[in-house]
Symmetry: C2
Subunit: 486 residues, 2 copies
Amino acid sequence: MAGIDELAARLRAEIGAQRVLTDRQELRTYECDGLAHYKVVPALVALPATAEQVAAVVRACAQTGTPFVARGSGTGLSGGALPHADGVLIVTSQLREIVEIRPEDERAVVQPGVINLQLTKAATPHGYYYAPDPSSQQICSIGGNVAENSGGAHCLKYGFTTHHVTGLEIVTPDGERVRLGGAAPDTPGYDLLGAFVGSEGTLGVATEVTVKLTRLPEAVRTLLAAFRSTDQAGAATSAIIAAGVIPAAVEMMDALAIEAAEAAVRCGYPAGAGAVLIVELDGPQAEVAAQFDEVSALCEASGAFEIRIAADDVERALIWRGRKSAFAAVGRISPDYIVQDGVIPRTALPAVLRRIGEIAAEHGVRVANVFHAGDGNLHPLVLFDDAVPGAAERAETVSGAILDVCIELGGSITGEHGVGADKVRYMPRMFDEADLDTMQLLRCAFDPDGLANPGKVFPTPRLCGEPPGRRQGVHPLHEPDVAEIF
Amino acid sequence: MAGIDELAARLRAEIGAQRVLTDRQELRTYECDGLAHYKVVPALVALPATAEQVAAVVRACAQTGTPFVARGSGTGLSGGALPHADGVLIVTSQLREIVEIRPEDERAVVQPGVINLQLTKAATPHGYYYAPDPSSQQICSIGGNVAENSGGAHCLKYGFTTHHVTGLEIVTPDGERVRLGGAAPDTPGYDLLGAFVGSEGTLGVATEVTVKLTRLPEAVRTLLAAFRSTDQAGAATSAIIAAGVIPAAVEMMDALAIEAAEAAVRCGYPAGAGAVLIVELDGPQAEVAAQFDEVSALCEASGAFEIRIAADDVERALIWRGRKSAFAAVGRISPDYIVQDGVIPRTALPAVLRRIGEIAAEHGVRVANVFHAGDGNLHPLVLFDDAVPGAAERAETVSGAILDVCIELGGSITGEHGVGADKVRYMPRMFDEADLDTMQLLRCAFDPDGLANPGKVFPTPRLCGEPPGRRQGVHPLHEPDVAEIF
């Protein structure tokens, strides 16, 4: 590829030779993100260390018509950072400075490569933390969180990444550096900040992120309630929310997820549980104490046969260990698995669990369920053995059927993992043409040449491919070569 | 205007004769919104009763190249609903159905003409309310709230309109009906919902709004603390927030605002106060009780010489009466006044108050200050007598200088009233060209012909007027005739 060689030479001159990788062996390190069954080796990897270097790389891509994909820590679960075979992968992990912690304004300014948990560690001495906490928080980057609008166990009370980002500096797909938002809770003009957060790298690359810091709660209390069935645990969840309590987290695991966690980390959850709920309350001491009694009573009323209350931080960590290890733990009981991500209205929890059970039984596939139950965010883990012919296909069928159930019940095809490469094909099940066209107006406006993370989020771009007519202001989007990506 | 006559005939046929006004006398009713010193009589007023009728009007405008402006109740304070002299004013107040109240999902679906307070009244029997509460909540519409991303006294704790809208049906500027968002807390694809909320009618017209309902708090407690100076009241505000308490509201009034309120509604605030704070706490009984003692102590420590605690709803209403009447009350002590709207970081409160005092003194103008102190949202009321030559200009100068101070201190030119027609000229003080260009990419994508509320929000459209080149995908925006608008 002569084009790539020229681009590599230009980038080596502009950002430094050690920041540009073209060796096939080195490139392979970046062939996938957390969704490891999609693999594409990029043509070039750039490791810029400053915002201006990011802009230089993007400008070079724009001027040469080269597709580019941004990547943080590469922990995403929808293939959003899957490289483009003829494109540049821009890795932002070298931009890892915590620029500023401003407790008096409850704000922090960080570069995109800063690790989620590091920000919390830096804020803690000031009495603050960064609220969004994906399970991968020890390794995932804030830039990646911005791209995917990441959630986490505590998003029930505290919201998603989009609720904690107040300002961004980005590089647009034509290589220009601009600000979106700022430190204030609201700024005049369009809220493009909100559109950028969760745009999965299709509108540009974030180079600096201003976030809200959240005050460390005065008190945190955690309980584990064991139930005979997921129906009972679902009823308890509904009862807690209906009582007007908003816990920091309400997590549910079913029998199979518990079995996996026990095998992996010996979390010692109550024997014979068909489901467990982890309920965490935080806030002022007085509030937490009053609500804790209420939550315990509601769990009992819904059929909990054992309730364990964490007496201290160690016991609290023990309760969480099972939940936090759940995804990886499934590897102990199954050689392969798909982590699905869907959303339903909380009230549909018992219905969706029954439907998942039926679908699994019908196809002879095991499904372990781990939920952010409080906000109806499901993570069914579909187990299979890739060595068994047809098993992967059956698992894929079950996984897709679960999303259909989510849509049917008024939910969504992704709660926090994003669309990425993986769920592009489901978008038309959720949105009609006019909806997708309207969203793509924005993509076309920012990226008329379709170079920023092509093939992700949107199925075949209809709108921009239309002959000039009604939408005459919009330039045709270059058709991404989907076959090449997958 | 032959063009308008033809358009009127078409619209009469499509949506009914009684829904189309062209009589000059009738049109004059709509010549201004809440910012009454800007007046433009529209060429035609349409009063559609259904979403499809709104779409029909917008389509007719798009096909004939006619500018259009949407209007709710017309209570906006930035001239966002100021008509276009050659355009159609689309009044959405006939779309006033509360479509659905769903307490189990904490959602309501309303048409845009529904009055803010009516939604709360409809939700109250179910134990819920609609949190954003502009001072005009008795008459302002949800559609207008969406256009302006309206705030209110309780936005400190509960956030702005954008934090409570989860789904919209809109009519795009080419007359197409599309959905943005939904009932779920987050949906895949771009968050155009967030960009639409607060876009001040420049991206289309909302025809249905899905909002979050908020649970009525178990307890509400309100206190009034009187201080000798605004410095003391500002220090108390900072101390409360620094203590980790997030009150539902922290409102401040200075001596002149108190004088006005006394003259108008005899609210009986403590004599000799240089400033009062109204602090309202809500939430679980236990939390409110504990925090209330803490807030009282912090007010005393900051110099409060009298603290009144509302013993019941009547006393609570009495405390609020002075604050809620403050804008109108200023009319008792001054023939004319400008309601300014700016934001500063909360920590800059004492500094900004001193600077406002200096600016006012320098120009011989009186300024009454009413604040959402908790979130640093200022509403300086600049008093003047239009009968005195030069007084209006001096008031305008002071009003503008206050915004400059807000920007200088890291704040913003509007907290909740919007940019509208009034603050277009301040946008370049806050944003550089690249920032404004990036925002206008969205406007151009949605509205390449520049027909949706032209002349509002953005100063002269730079980007879309550029010769085809870098931004070649974007169609030139028709240059709005600013002179004609003002």
